[in-house]
């Protein structure tokens, strides 16, 4: 098993850091899956994660200048590593103004992802910081636990308003309640609502649009056509943990081009964040009353 990659562009390093930072806010531990073309950050919906799942894929070529890997075998040319987000973030923190960052899988006392950061310096040669982040290699037989979750059979799919607007509102709603009800309809309307004994607050977002999905579960650019019968006015909702939702909104730092919210009434919300070279899916289960 071998992995060696290098990032040389400051913009790529910072972008990569923002992605890792977003994932690390969503989950403490997660899985990094390395394949020849893509990198994946995965969290499966276990009890420990509170029912949350994450599936993030990035096209490695858009970040790495050099990239070489050999998986566990020729047939299964992939590597799965269990990592602690906080540690990777610390390593990347050093790299924000770096000349280059090399990432490789190494074996020190324990398997590590080693980040070798070349920093600019006053003298002719570089300064160099090396971070060895311990990781666990996940055995081949466990790989099936880390497959892409299927697209849910959603009742509603809607493009979200700018995440920073949502974030401002959720930050205040967090102080009122632990849960928020997110609802949307086929008419480009979305509501956020909290309710306690003392107060009920609802924020209404209008003039959003609804995406179209084809049979293969892929996004199309045209109007959402499925419900023409006036039912598009009906709201579909789900009650979720406000803190987990708030964590997702941090994804705004990645400057996504689209963020889609798919709601399965009273079951789960599936967020789909799309950017040029990556996509992030985040599943939050409903908290029933």
């Amino acid at each position: 098993m071998r992995f060696r990659g290098r990032l040389v562009d400051v913009a790529c390093i910072q972008h990569f850091t923002r992605v890792v930072s977003t994932i690390s806010k969503l989950a403490k531990n997660y899985v990094l899956r390395i394949t020849p073309d893509k990198l994946y950050f995965i969290l499966n919906d276990s009890v420990t994660s509170g029912g949350i799942s994450i599936w993030c894929e990035m096209i490695q070529a858009n970040f790495f200048d050099e990239y070489n890997m050999d998986g566990v075998s020729a047939e299964f040319n992939e590597i799965y590593l269990d990592i602690i987000g906080e540690n990777i973030m610390r390593a990347l923190k050093s790299a924000q103004s770096a000349k280059s960052v090399k990432v490789k899988l190494t074996k020190k006392h324990t398997p590590c992802l080693t980040f070798d950061v070349q920093l600019p310096s006053l003298s002719v040669s570089s300064r160099n910081v090396v971070h060895d982040v311990p990781v666990n290699v996940i055995a081949r037989r466990l790989w099936e636990d880390y497959q892409e979750p299927p697209m849910p059979e959603f009742d509603i799919s809607i493009y979200m308003p700018p995440l920073r607007l949502l974030r401002n509102v959720i930050d205040r709603m967090k102080n009122l309640s632990s849960y928020v009800i997110l609802s949307g309809n086929g008419n480009g309307e979305m509501n956020l609502s909290v309710e306690t004994d003392m107060v009920s607050v609802t924020t209404h977002f209008r003039d959003l649009s609804n995406p179209t999905w084809n049979k293969d579960g892929e996004l199309e650019e045209s109007q959402y056509e499925i419900s023409q019968d006036g039912q598009s006015q009906n709201f579909v909702s789900a009650r979720i943990d406000i803190k987990k939702f708030s964590n997702f909104l941090i994804g705004q730092q990645m400057n996504p081009s689209k963020v889609i919210c798919n709601i399965v009434h009273n079951k789960v919300i599936h967020f789909f964040l799309i950017q040029d070279d990556l996509s992030l899916q985040y599943f939050i289960p409903v908290i029933s009353l």
């Binding site: 607007l165 205040r172 102080n175 009122l176 107060v199 607050v201 609802t202 924020t203 209404h204 209008r206």
Partner: protein, 282 residues
């Protein structure tokens, strides 16, 4: 959807309707008295007064005069209720509390009379939020009986010079002692904490002092933990007036200028610390 077009017909049911183009003009004034969770709201034709009290020793009042509202309608002589001011502030700041220029939140506030909730509609950038806040039976508000005729000493000064002194008060001291005198040190704020005593002296001829009318030397002590929250009002205000009466009661009045240049007042009343009272000859 703008606030003015919605529910025009239903407005008839409300006892109080108030509209503000900039919700911050109200939320800032309320922040200045936010040291307890519950507040009493008292509306008259003159405007709205919000009162917060603690321990029967300290009372803070915010005045939102009718003139600062774009529209102010009261269909009864007065209306009063108790409300959770923490919740009210979260609602008023629902779109974020950053002070970005140009991004203002418009507010419409309605109250249907005894037993009804307070309803708020807030709008910013095309996004609308409606809030329904429960109201409670109002408590009797203290009357500190502070009258200008009994004022012994009065000083008006710029708030900025007192801000750090108040923020840095030694909290290990039980009391804040205020000395006001026609003679030196003129105005002295003192604390007596674990590390020793601290004095901050403000001379009457300082350029921070706008008006100095002290007739008698008075030294009074007040519970520091009760007065400390007044630093919020100090931070928001431009000027402060400090007055004491013959009983040693303290009145602090803060002049706050809002985004639109309008002036609002906040006042704090505090009774002197009891221990000292016992020694007074009255």
């Amino acid at each position: 959807m703008s606030l003015s077009t919605q529910q025009g017909d239903e407005d008839g049911q409300y006892v109080l309707i108030a509209k503000l183009d900039n919700a911050r003009n109200m939320s800032n004034i309320l922040k200045a008295i936010h040291f307890k969770e519950m507040a009493t709201v008292f509306a008259t034709a003159n405007g709205i007064k919000v009162t917060v009290e603690d321990s029967k020793c300290i009372q803070a009042n915010s005045f939102l005069q009718a003139g600062i509202f774009q529209e102010f309608i009261l269909r009864e002589e007065s209306a009063t209720f108790k409300i959770d001011i923490t919740v009210l502030l979260e609602c008023l700041n629902i779109f974020g509390s950053s002070t970005l220029p140009g991004a203002t939140t418009a507010l419409k506030m309605c109250y249907g009379g005894y037993g009804s909730p307070l309803i708020l509609w807030l709008e910013e950038g095309g996004v609308l939020t409606d809030c329904t806040i429960k109201t409670l039976e109002p408590d009797e508000v203290l009357d500190f009986n502070f009258s200008s005729t009994n004022v012994i000493n009065k000083i008006i000064m710029k708030s900025e010079c007192l801000k750090e002194a108040f923020s840095e008060l030694d909290m290990t001291s039980e009391v804040l002692e205020i000395l006001m005198s026609p003679d030196k040190p003129y105005l002295r704020l003192s604390t007596f904490g674990n590390a020793g005593s601290t004095h901050a002296d403000y001379p009457k001829d300082s350029d921070m002092v706008e008006s100095f009318q002290c007739t008698q030397t008075q030294t009074n002590r007040y519970k520091l933990s009760l007065l400390k929250p007044s630093v919020k009002a100090l931070t928001l205000s431009n000027k402060i007036s400090i007055r004491t009466d013959c009983r040693g009661f303290l009145s602090l009045q803060y002049m706050i200028r809002n985004d639109d240049g309008q002036i609002c007042f906040v006042e704090y009343y505090c009774s002197p610390d009891e221990e000292l009272d016992e020694n007074d000859d009255r």
